[in-house]
Structures are given as C-alpha cells and as structure tokens.
C-alpha cells in the first residue's frame, strides 16, 4: 500500500477469506472513526454533497454471507494491524451486460470499501492509498481463477464513478434503476488485462 504521509510503499497483507473476528474488528475500528468525523463535519458545516456516500455497511453480515455461501468470497487488505479495505465478491449468478460479452459469467463486486481514515471525503489526512486498485486487481484475479477471464462488474457509488471509468478503464453501462440508480460498470477481459499491466 502507499503511505501518503511517508510517501512510500509499505508492506500489506491481502486476506482471502475474512474471518468473523476480522470483520468484527474492522467494524469496531471503522464505525467510531466514521462517526467522529461525521460529527466534526457537521460542526464545521461541510456541505452535504461532500459527505461520504457509504455511511456504514454491516461487514459482519457480509462476512456471514461469505461463510454461508460458496458463491461469496470476502477479501481484506491489512496494514499496520488494521483492516484498510474490505470487499465482498459474488462468483455465481451474474452475467455480463456488455454486448460483446453478453451472457458470460463475471465476478460481481457486491461491496467494496476503504477504511474511513483512508477516504479523502472523511479523513482530514487520509492515511493510505491504493486500497481500491489492490481490491479491483484482486477481483480480476479471482475472475481469472474462476475462468471468467477477468470479467468483473459492480455498481459504483457516485463519488467513485469517475475512478472506475477513467482510472480503471471500465465500461460505464449507465444508471441501473433496479439498484438505487447507481451506475453499473463492467470490465471485459481486454480491459482487465490492460488494468493489470
């Protein structure tokens, strides 16, 4: 990962198969920090459109799904003994919408989040970057392992739309009215290969 303050790469661990204890620890660390920052933002009068767009996801519940279903895989990035990012991926039941890949299975990134102290919209001094890139790369590798050739899909929260479109080179398939009007993105095998270069 990239330590923003030290301006260098630091050792991190990618965890494949988050345990209940790890999910609970992440919740116990992320939630109070986020709430503290929200209080600060309210006190400072920060405009609402600059507030974070995922206040609180229940990662324990997501970990339970990963435990209960073969189709779910949960990953985390740990650095300095703290979870810096979490991701839940669904590996069955989702097919490509892009015309050239229509009907072919993909790995669907059901949830992806960086720890709140890594978010520019939350933390006065975000600690680490590269959480997003590492987790997207992980989703692609998982897709390849599943024989989906790197195909992935996800619904982006608005603050991340541009990143998925421009920085990751994913295809923007527009707003999905079935999923809270979030923009739906997909990656073809060629785009995945390009991302990993």
């Amino acid at each position: 990962m990239h330590d923003r303050k030290a301006r260098r790469l630091v050792e991190a661990t990618l965890i494949d198969g988050i345990t209940r204890a790890e999910a609970e620890k992440a919740e116990a660390e992320w939630k109070p920090y986020l709430e503290e920052q929200l209080k600060r933002m309210a006190a400072e009068g920060v405009p609402k459109d600059r507030w974070p767009q995922h206040g609180h996801w229940d990662w324990r519940q997501k970990q339970e799904a990963a435990d209960a279903y073969l189709a779910y895989r949960m990953f985390g990035v740990e650095c300095q003994s703290q979870m810096q990012g979490l991701m839940l991926v669904l590996t069955a039941g989702k097919n490509c919408q892009i015309e050239s890949q229509k009907g072919k299975p993909l790995a669907y990134v059901h949830f992806l989040a960086a720890a709140p102290w890594n978010l520019a919209t939350v933390a006065p001094d975000p600690r680490f970057s590269l959480v997003g890139s590492i987790l997207v790369a992980t989703a692609i590798h998982l897709s390849i392992e599943e024989e989906f050739q790197g195909r992935i899909g996800l619904h982006s929260l608005p603050q991340a739309d541009e990143w998925y479109r421009n920085s990751c080179g994913m295809t923007d398939l527009g707003r999905d009215h079935a999923v809270q009007d979030l923009r739906y993105f997909e990656m073809t095998p060629e785009q995945a290969s390009e991302f990993l270069k």
Binding site: L14, A71, G93, G103, E147
Partner: protein, 74 residues
C-alpha cells in the same frame, strides 16, 4: 501479499447423454470449462437451498412486463 489456496478433491461423475450434452452446451455458451459450469451450478443450488429453507421463494421476473413466476416453466 499472501493468499490461501484451498485443497481440492477429485470426483468422478456419471451423467446421462442428455446431461452431458447440456453440460457441453453450457460450457460452450459460457466459455468456461465443464468443471466450472458444475461449480456454478453447485453455488447457485446452495444459495437457493439456504434461502428456501429460510422461508423465501425463488421467482423469475420478466424484465419488461415485470410479471413474476416461480421456478416452474409451465
């Protein structure tokens, strides 16, 4: 970076010709191996079973008409 690789076991399947054909067709359509097709089937079956055991029902919804129907075709 470290990741875990689960150990794998081998199994032999006895399928009818019709089942084998369906498996071949799905493998070709989905562009994945026959093993990967069966993995998909197992994962979906498990999800259906866990949720129906909880009292939920499996429905299909037509994209245009929004008409709902249970798993049965007819």
């Amino acid at each position: 970076m470290q990741t875990g690789t689960p150990s794998r076991k081998t199994m032999t399947l006895n399928l009818t010709e019709a089942e084998m054909q369906a498996l071949d067709e799905l493998s070709a359509t989905k562009d994945i191996s026959k093993t990967a097709v069966l993995r998909q089937a197992l994962r979906l079956y498990q999800m259906v079973e866990v949720r129906t055991a909880r009292g939920e029902k499996l429905f299909f919804e037509h994209d245009t008409t929004k008409q709902k129907a249970e798993l049965m075709v007819l």
